[in-house]
């Protein structure tokens, strides 16, 4: 009788990380565990998130209890705020120190600033795990791409097949569409080497997969789209959706990075309040983080505080376990995304699960457009001009009040196809069938 297959899943951002990619990192090993695999997750210490980025400890409750989690130390020098840990050079000449750190990291074999120092601990931990219990497949998710080094290390030293999961683009700038690392650069050479030997490579949307397939045609047949999806705790109830009542609440939930066109949205919102009574008495609730770190980004915070008089309020982050409740309090959802042909964002799937009207405030060429096309309650702004955003906000507000039950039901049914389970299942099944497990 053969033993259960053993998956080593490698991710930097694993619970209690609260970053956008964590939901995929949480769901993927859970899906393998549910499919009968023994799963070991290799990640960084909890302190990495509680100290530097902010943590959502409620996410740890969602880890499948059958999963073994191995944590390795991770030192995030640039975000260390306790000066006792600083060198004399950093305290006295911070700019010189920053330049030196960047130079040091770019000179390493795998030049990934801030993360490449993690590689040695990661590879050692992967070897230990494999020695204790042989690994049959490694699945590593980037960013950071340093996580892929564990997969490469086990492949090189023990012949373990691996899958690369790419949530973003390593050589591809997903916002501009430009190649940011030449094929002949260190990163370009690493990418070529890694894709050549990968059992599979996963991407979050078709535009990114197509770009990589063009760049690495030999590996194209092994490249798959595994979209993000909504998680089971967001599953809609079976009851028929009901119309909203005034005053409406427009809501945004997610990380508001510098790429998010917040200023354009605020201008559109203010225009819509002047144009239409429904929006004039509505509220706008922004939930999540302002920036990637624990301390809110000062520019975004100022923008939001200045917009308070027009009914916009920033109400801070939401624990994952509270997400469904927060969506329940919204009447219209705001999908405000940075511009980029290759940008989907994970929250588009959460939004679809709700069946609520969705206002797209992003460039129409975004990959999110492909996901939303056909959704009955989708109101895309034609451009990021205030008038176009205002028109979409007004139309969505009226739909929230007036759309009939059939339309709302159709919206919910449309979203049902995008559960995360549906996205992961085909790949989990294929890998389960293809991985040979020695007796």
């Amino acid at each position: 009788m053969s033993r259960r297959p053993h998956l080593l899943y490698v991710a930097w951002g694993y619970p209690p990380c609260r970053g956008g990619g964590v939901y995929r990192a949480l769901a993927t090993p859970n899906a393998f565990a549910a499919a009968g695999w023994d799963v070991t997750v290799l990640t960084v210490t909890r302190e990495t998130f509680t100290r530097y980025t902010g943590a959502d400890e409620s996410l740890e409750d969602l880890i499948d209890p059958r999963i073994t989690v191995v944590r390795t130390p991770f030192r995030w020098e640039a975000l260390e705020t306790d000066v006792r840990q600083w060198s004399w050079l950093r305290a006295h000449f911070p700019r010189v120190w920053r330049r030196w750190v960047k130079r040091r990291d770019t000179m390493r074999d795998l030049p990934e600033v801030g993360y490449s120092g993690w590689r040695s601990d990661l590879e050692a931990a992967a070897s230990r795990i494999h020695a204790e219990k042989p690994v049959d497949l490694t699945l590593a998710t980037a960013n950071p791409a340093t996580a892929w080094m564990a997969a490469w290390h086990l492949h090189r030293t023990a012949g373990v097949p691996y899958v690369l999961d790419q949530r973003d683009g390593w050589s591809l700038d997903v916002f501009s569409g430009d190649r940011i690392h030449d094929r002949g650069s260190k990163i370009g050479r690493w990418e070529t080497r890694l894709f050549a030997a990968a059992r599979e490579a996963w991407f979050v949307n078709e535009p990114i997969r197509a770009w990589y397939a063009r760049e690495y045609p030999d590996a194209a047949a092994r490249m798959h789209v595994v979209m993000n999806g909504w998680d089971p705790d967001l599953a809609p109830t079976s009851a028929d959706p009901v119309p909203s009542k005034r005053p409406l609440t427009y809501g945004y939930l997610g990380t508001i990075s510098k790429k998010v066109p917040l200023a354009e949205f605020v201008a559109g919102w203010q225009q819509a309040r002047r144009d239409d009574d429904v929006v004039a008495d509505a509220h706008c609730s922004l939930r999540g983080y302002l920036g990637f770190y624990k301390t809110p980004d000062a520019v975004s915070l100022t923008l939001v505080e200045d917009a308070e008089e027009s009914g916009i309020a920033f109400a801070g982050p939401v624990a994952k376990t509270e997400v469904a409740t927060v969506y329940h309090g919204f009447d219209v959802l705001l999908l405000i995304l940075g511009t980029g042909l290759f940008v989907t964002s994970g929250k588009v799937f959460e939004y679809l699960a709700t069946g609520l009207p969705i206002v797209s405030v992003h460039d129409p060429s975004n990959a999110a457009t492909d996901v939303l096309r056909g959704y009955p309650l989708w109101f895309p702004a034609a451009s990021l001009a205030a008038d176009d955003i205002a028109a979409a906000l007004v139309a969505a507000g009226h739909a929230a009040l007036e759309a009939d039950v059939e339309t709302r039901r159709a919206a919910r049914d449309f979203g049902a196809a995008y559960s995360r389970d549906n996205q992961l299942a085909p790949r989990v099944e294929a890998l389960t069938a293809s991985v040979a497990v020695p007796a």
């Binding site: 705020t81 306790d82 000066v83 006792r84 600083w86 950093r90 305290a91 911070p94 624990k294 301390t295």
Partner: protein, 136 residues
């Protein structure tokens, strides 16, 4: 807990610093402020304040002075550190502190020197990280 806040009184940090002082005081901590003084100083709501005077700047020399400041930007950092070193009151407060918070990035030299003399106390750069330090 004795908290010492080190600041060069930049106006953009004022509101966050005042909020932090209130939060520490509400939690029963004794808060002291060691500061380089701005042009129009407003009093801090703290148990004690050590005023180290205004920083001298070459900007008063006009365009030439401003240009020199641009290529030699560490001036305030150095001045704060040296004035703290010359102030017995500031040194005593820092030596007894349980937590030292540097408000602006230019407080790093002062924090670094103080941390070498009082290594048991966290010396944290930034108001939010300092407020959250003991929640780690």
């Amino acid at each position: 807990m004795k908290v010492v806040v080190v600041t060069v009184s930049r106006s953009g940090y004022r509101k966050a610093t005042e909020d932090a002082l209130r939060r520490w005081a509400a939690a029963g901590d004794t808060v002291s402020v060691v500061m380089l003084r701005p042009k129009d100083p407003a009093p801090w709501d703290a148990a004690s304040t050590v005023d180290l005077g205004s920083p001298t700047t070459m900007k008063r020399l006009g365009k030439v002075g401003t240009a020199i400041c641009r290529v030699w930007p560490g001036s305030v950092n150095r001045q704060l550190a040296s004035r703290v070193r010359r102030s017995a009151q500031a040194r005593a407060l820092l030596a007894e502190a349980d937590l030292v918070c540097g408000v602006e990035p230019v407080t790093t030299r002062t924090l670094y020197r103080s941390s070498r003399r009082n290594p048991d106390a966290p010396h944290v750069l930034g108001i939010d990280p300092a407020l959250n330090y003991f929640q780690r």
